[in-house]
Each structure stands twice: as structure tokens, then as C-alpha cells.
Symmetry: C2
Subunit: 421 residues, 2 copies
């Protein structure tokens, strides 16, 4: 047995404090602003991306495609060729969203002119940011960058963001903790499936949208976007998870995982007690269901910051709430239950705010403990979309993946070194 005052005691105390921040978080969707104006450290020579740090040379196809698209969108480049030359020249910097209080699904690009959701976690004193979901088909986040993609991004900037932003202002903010709690009773797990949360956001905002003063056509198009985009809620929920986990980050001695993210080449984790270091390993190809005409051979390795949902105790960790999702991997309803049950083995707490009806309202397994992952050998489960490996193609499927074990082993070694000093 280790003494309470020993290393194990210090870890327990640090983890108790860290998980308290996770459970007590009060993320509210406060509004929408331009990234340049609100994202900490955003600059006009900077593009943010999902996952741990990566250079242009190391980027996979879809992330490069999305970077090209962002440079065209910002009008830094007039052609894809120009954009590649700019990227190769070193004139612009690439940094992780996670280093700037932001998160992005798939390639996860945030450029200075993009509108972002602003999520405030007053309880934890944190803010986080995420772009607006583009919808389906050929979209920037899957590495597409043709004219349709850019036109859609400009519509988001010129119409969707102002209307939703003004509606949020009139509403006085939208409580994302309650939203997620309700959505988990409506078949969502908050990552791959967000139909309920998206519908609920729509109905909460609607009375305010009609008072924004926007034209009837603009309102019509915004409501059509909300009616068609089952993933509309993913991005604000990701920002809510980021604001939640950032509040628990930086507690000396804590073994709590505060970020899991993929840049399309590497999978990385960050740990509360280990500051801003990333512990990485090679990203794997998800196992899942492919759209007609595609297979695993076309798939890019795992990519995106959306694993912040699992990090915060929803997504695949709440699979028991969303049995329809297991269809992506030809699983059964029982698999959905056991997926969630397994995650209790590697987490620090159950979140009473997020009860799962199918488990008699047991709270979702919350807060991955690096020690438990290494000790049990159970790796976190992750739901995810699958991108084509070539830039410009887009989404080709959805499925499940686990992080590489080495990330957790490296983090645990670093924690042991910290505790020895």
C-alpha cells in the first residue's frame, strides 16, 4: 500500500480536483464571432488544424486539401497551386486548434475570417471555440476545396453565422449541458449522432431567429440548414467539451486525459498534469461502414478533434444511449451497452448530469485515467467519420477506432518522471 501522503495520494487528490472541474462545468453557447477577433493567438499568417502539431510535409491528403481550401477562402491564394507554394514557402504557420482554445471536426481548419461558436464555461473560467458545421457532401473538413465548398463557407460567413449569432444574443445564450443531457435520452451519443441535439437547438433558436431582422429568404435558408444538418450540434458540443476539459487541465500530478485528437497522421493525447506536451502515436484507419464505391483502401488514417467528446465522457463512451450508431460496424444493441460499460473501467467518475436511460440513468463514464488505461489494457473507444485519403474527395464512411496504446504508455512514463522529481 502507498501512503496517502505519497505519490499515489498526490495523484488521487489532483485527479479528484480535476474531475470536479469536469463534472461541475456549465458550458453555454454564448454567441458567434469571427475567429480573428476572439480565438486566443489567432493571426493573419496562422491556420489551425485538428490533432497534435504537424508540418505541411507530414500532413495527409485531406488535411492538405482543407489547408488549400482555407487559403483560397481567405484569398491568400487564387489557385490550389498557389496555395501549395505558400504552404511550402513557410510564410504561414500551422498550429493545433487545441493550442488556441479551439476544436475542429476532421481536418479541423480554423482560419482568421471564419465565424466560430463561442462557448463559455463560467464554472471553470474557460472559453472554447469551434467553427460552424458545413453539413454533408464535399466539405472543407473532409479536404474538399472546390467552388461549391467555398461558396458554402461564404454563405456560412455571410448569412448563417450572423443570423444564428443574433438569435443567440436575443436568447441570452443556450445551455449546452442541458442540451447534451436531453439529447442522450433521444438516441444521440453527441459525436457521430447529433440529430436530436441539432433539432433541439433549432427549436430553441427558432423564436429568436424570426426576430433577428434577417430577410425572409435568409431565415428560410437558415431553417433549411437546421432541418437538413443532423451534425449542426456537433461543433458547439465539441466546444462545450473543450471548455470543460480545459478547466481540468494543468493540475500538477493529475493523470486525467484532457485531450485526445488526431491530425490525420498521428494520434495524440494531452494529460492534465503534463502541461502542453502531446504524447503521440501513429493514427489508425477506423473500422466502419463505407459509402457505396469506397473501402478501407481509400480511407485516410483517423483525423479530427471530435474525440474531445469521448475525452469528456460522451461520444462512444455514451454508446449505450445511441444503439442506432452501432449499425456503422454491424454491431448489436448489446454491443452498445457493453461499449459504455467497458469505459467505466478506465474512467474516474460517472457524470450524474448525463444519465443513460438504457442503464437506468447511470451517469456516462467520464474522465479517462492514463493509469487505468495502461493497467487494464483497455483503450478508449472512439466514434468517427472517415475521410478519403486524397485531398478534395470528402467523407467516405463512418466507424469506430481506438487510439494507439503507445500514447498512454508514453504519458504514464512522463507522469512517473514528474512524480519522482
Amino acid at each position: 500500500m502507498t501512503e496517502p501522503g505519497g505519490a499515489a495520494g498526490r495523484v488521487s487528490q489532483a485527479n479528484a480536483a480535476a474531475i470536479r472541474h469536469v463534472l461541475d462545468a456549465t458550458p453555454v453557447l454564448a454567441g458567434i464571432a469571427r475567429a480573428r477577433d476572439v480565438v486566443p493567438g489567432m493571426a493573419d499568417d496562422l491556420l489551425l488544424h485538428a490533432g497534435p502539431p504537424i508540418t505541411w510535409d507530414g500532413m495527409s491528403g485531406p488535411v492538405r486539401g482543407a489547408m488549400i481550401g482555407a487559403m483560397l477562402y481567405e484569398r491568400w491564394a487564387a489557385t490550389a497551386g498557389d496555395a501549395v507554394r505558400i504552404a511550402e514557402s513557410g510564410r504561414i504557420r500551422f498550429e493545433p486548434c487545441h493550442a488556441h482554445a479551439a476544436v475542429g471536426p476532421m481536418a479541423g481548419i480554423v482560419s482568421p475570417s471564419m465565424p466560430v461558436y463561442v462557448v463559455e464555461n463560467a464554472a471553470g473560467g474557460t472559453r472554447a471555440y469551434a467553427t460552424l458545421n458545413e453539413g454533408y457532401g464535399k466539405v472543407l473538413r473532409f479536404g474538399a476545396y472546390d467552388d461549391d465548398v467555398l461558396a458554402r463557407l461564404r454563405w456560412i460567413e455571410g448569412t448563417l453565422a450572423p443570423v444564428l449569432g443574433r438569435a443567440l444574443e436575443l436568447m441570452g445564450g443556450l445551455d449546452l449541458r442541458t442540451l447534451v443531457a436531453q439529447a442522450l435520452q433521444m438516441g444521440d451519443e453527441g459525436h457521430n449522432r447529433n440529430r436530436a441535439a441539432s433539432a433541439l437547438i433549432g427549436r430553441l433558436l427558432a423564436p429568436h431567429v424570426v426576430r433577428t431582422g434577417a430577410s425572409t429568404d435568409a431565415q428560410h435558408d437558415v431553417f433549411r440548414y437546421l432541418a437538413e444538418t443532423d451534425l449542426a450540434a456537433l461543433n458547439p458540443i465539441m466546444a462545450a467539451c473543450k471548455a470543460t476539459m480545459d478547466a481540468a487541465h494543468g493540475m500538477a500530478g493529475s493523470t486525467l486525459v484532457t485531450a485526445m485528437a488526431r491530425n490525420g497522421t498521428e494520434f495524440g493525447i494531452r494529460v492534465s498534469g503534463l502541461g502542453d506536451r502531446w504524447f503521440t502515436g501513429p493514427a489508425e484507419v477506423p473500422r466502419g461502414l463505407y459509402f457505396p464505391g469506397f473501402s478501407g483502401d481509400d480511407a485516410n488514417p483517423d483525423v479530427g478533434d471530435s474525440t474531445i467528446t469521448e475525452t469528456a465522457g460522451i461520444g462512444a463512451f455514451a454508446m449505450a444511449a445511441a444503439p442506432a450508431v452501432v449499425r456503422f460496424v454491424s454491431g448489436t444493441a448489446r454491443d452498445a451497452l457493453t461499449s459504455t460499460l467497458e469505459m467505466y473501467e478506465i474512467t474516474l467518475a460517472e457524470n450524474p448530469a448525463f444519465g443513460i436511460a438504457a442503464l437506468d440513468f447511470r451517469g456516462t463514464p467520464t474522465g479517462i485515467d492514463v493509469r487505468k488505461v495502461v493497467r487494464t489494457g483497455i483503450l478508449p473507444r472512439i466514434n468517427t467519420g472517415i475521410a478519403h485519403r486524397e485531398p478534395g474527395v470528402g467523407q467516405i464512411g463512418a466507424g469506430l477506432v481506438r487510439p494507439p496504446r503507445i500514447c498512454f504508455e508514453r504519458a504514464l512514463r512522463a507522469l512517473a518522471e514528474e512524480l519522482e522529481t
Copy 2:
């Protein structure tokens, strides 16, 4: 063994034809109209009510209260006292909604001026009608009739119905079969819980609501109603079930139950092969969860046409899709599964359009067979709201109930007599 050409063979053939109509139904929410203009046989001396036929003398408190409210709403009476005198005078007639292609939750009153949803089942050549849900608190359907109740009914008539009706027209109708299928994957069972279906209706209609030409204030109020009324979808779904079951009604020899309904005093069923006869027994008091300050002593016996949902294979029959509902009776998630599993024992088919994710997308148990109920002794399960026994009080809880056994025994005896002739 009975010969295929014998009575059992004839019943099987009739049931196969009847259940085909149920599974093939295509209910569409086509629009909104005034009851006087569309409900078959509606007249200016007629009030419709839930359940089997009943006289004023036999009516329970909440049904009388709702009748009083309807007479005030129609301006047939200026005071509750006047309304009672009119009711006692015999100058107006009381008939079941079910006799007029209509259904109504709880007291289920339809009066000539009320707006009604129009649901068309093109596959079955049927139409059905239901009033617009009033929301919560003191409402006519629970027997309340004060000024607030009447003001809300006039708002429904003057604002909600015209705006939603015009939006439905612009939309070209709303597919209720798809809506229910989606809602069953989102924690609804379509009777006590309709949050998902209501949110989905809201988001489908929203792009059209803004093009109705209604004032901003009217649109705001309509969207607020949709945001606050988790039962908004109940009434159109009930009408969809009625249009579905009416298509299967009147098939000689069929033992399929085509209606179960309560008038607050008696529970009644109708059977496909037995025409317009009702087979009744005394309505029971539901077992459930009461609002603070109320108990079973305050409860009215079971009331309402909303059991048309169970009759059509959703509601309590789809409980496995809605584990959150079992909280009303302090049940467990397992109880939700077994509730649905039990109903397979007394039904004729599984509806592939309504897959339940928690049962690996097995279709909901659909089409109650009178023979199976009597043979197994298993009575249909029903989810329901609970009304106060005094007029004017309103809802005091929600829970579960079963029909009296005698309804099914009487129907089976009548079927036997029919088959002998």
C-alpha cells in the same frame, strides 16, 4: 387441426388482409381545416368525445368539464351553469370521435369551430382528424375551462392553426410514417413521450413558417409553442394511427382490434370484423407517477382516444424504444424491453417500418389479435396521462394502465357468433 377452408382459415385470411392495410399505411399530415368543414357528420349541435358512446349523465368530471369548456368556446353558453343546462336539455348531441374519423387525447372534445389536423392515408383510402395539442397545465382536454383555457383555444384557432396550416400547404404535406420511424430511434414511443417527433415537426416546418406571411410576432409565438410543447406531435400521430387502423376496419372475420378508447367511465374496443359495435368494460385508474400534492385518490378513471397509438403498434407497445418513460412507474430499463417483448405475444405482425434499435431493429409489435389476448391472458399495455376526477383541475400525473379483460372476452364471443352464422 382446423381445415384451411374452415372458420380458422377464414379468420387467418381476413387478418392477413387487415394487417396488410396497417403495415402498408402511408399517413401524411396534409393540412389543417375547421372541424365543421371536414369532419364527416360534424354539425352545429354536435360535440365529439373520446372513447365509446356515453350520455351526459354517465360522463366523469373531466369529460363534463371539457364539454362545458367547448360550449363556452363555441359561445353556445355564456357561463358554466348555462352549459350544464344545455347539456341536460338534450339540445346538443354527444358522439364518439371514433364514429367521425377523429381521435382526441384525454376528454378528446372536438367542437365544430375547432381547427383539426387532416391526415391522409392514400394507401388505405382513409382520412382522419385530430385537434391541435393545447400544451400543458390547465387545458380543455383535462377538463379545465377557465378564461385562460378559452384564450388559448382562441389563439390556436386564430394564430397557430392558420400559420401551421399554411406552412403545411407550402411544404406539400409531412410524411408521418417516416416521422414516427425516426422518433422511435430518438427516445419517443409516440404516446406519452413525443419530444423528438415534436422537435422534428418543428424543424421540418420552420423553413415554411417564415414564408407564410404571418407577422413576426405570430411566427415568434408559433415557434415558442413548438419549442415548449413536447406533445405537439401527439395529435397528428394519433390521427395517423386512426387513418391507419380505419383502413383495416370492416374486414369480415378479422379478429384485429382497430380501436381501443376510454371515455373516462368505460373502456371500449372495436374489432375489424365486428363493424361499429363497441365492446366495453369499466375504465380503470392508471398506475403512475403523480404531480406533487396529488395521489391515486384524486385520479379519474382512464380516459382518451390516445390508445389508438398502442392499437397501431406504438405507444406502450414501443416502450423498448423509450426507456425514459418507465420512470413514470419507477420501472427499469429492462422493464421497457420486456414491455415490448410481451406485446409480441398478442399481435399479428412486426412493423418493419418501425424498427427498435434496442431490439436490433426488430419491428414494433403491431395489430392486437382478440384471440391471442383471450388465449394468453395478456392484456395490451397502455401509456397514459392521468386527469383529476373533478372538472376544471387538469392533469395530475402520467402512468400505465391495461384495458379490462371483459372487452376482449365479449368481442371474442361476438366473433364466434358471427363465424357460426
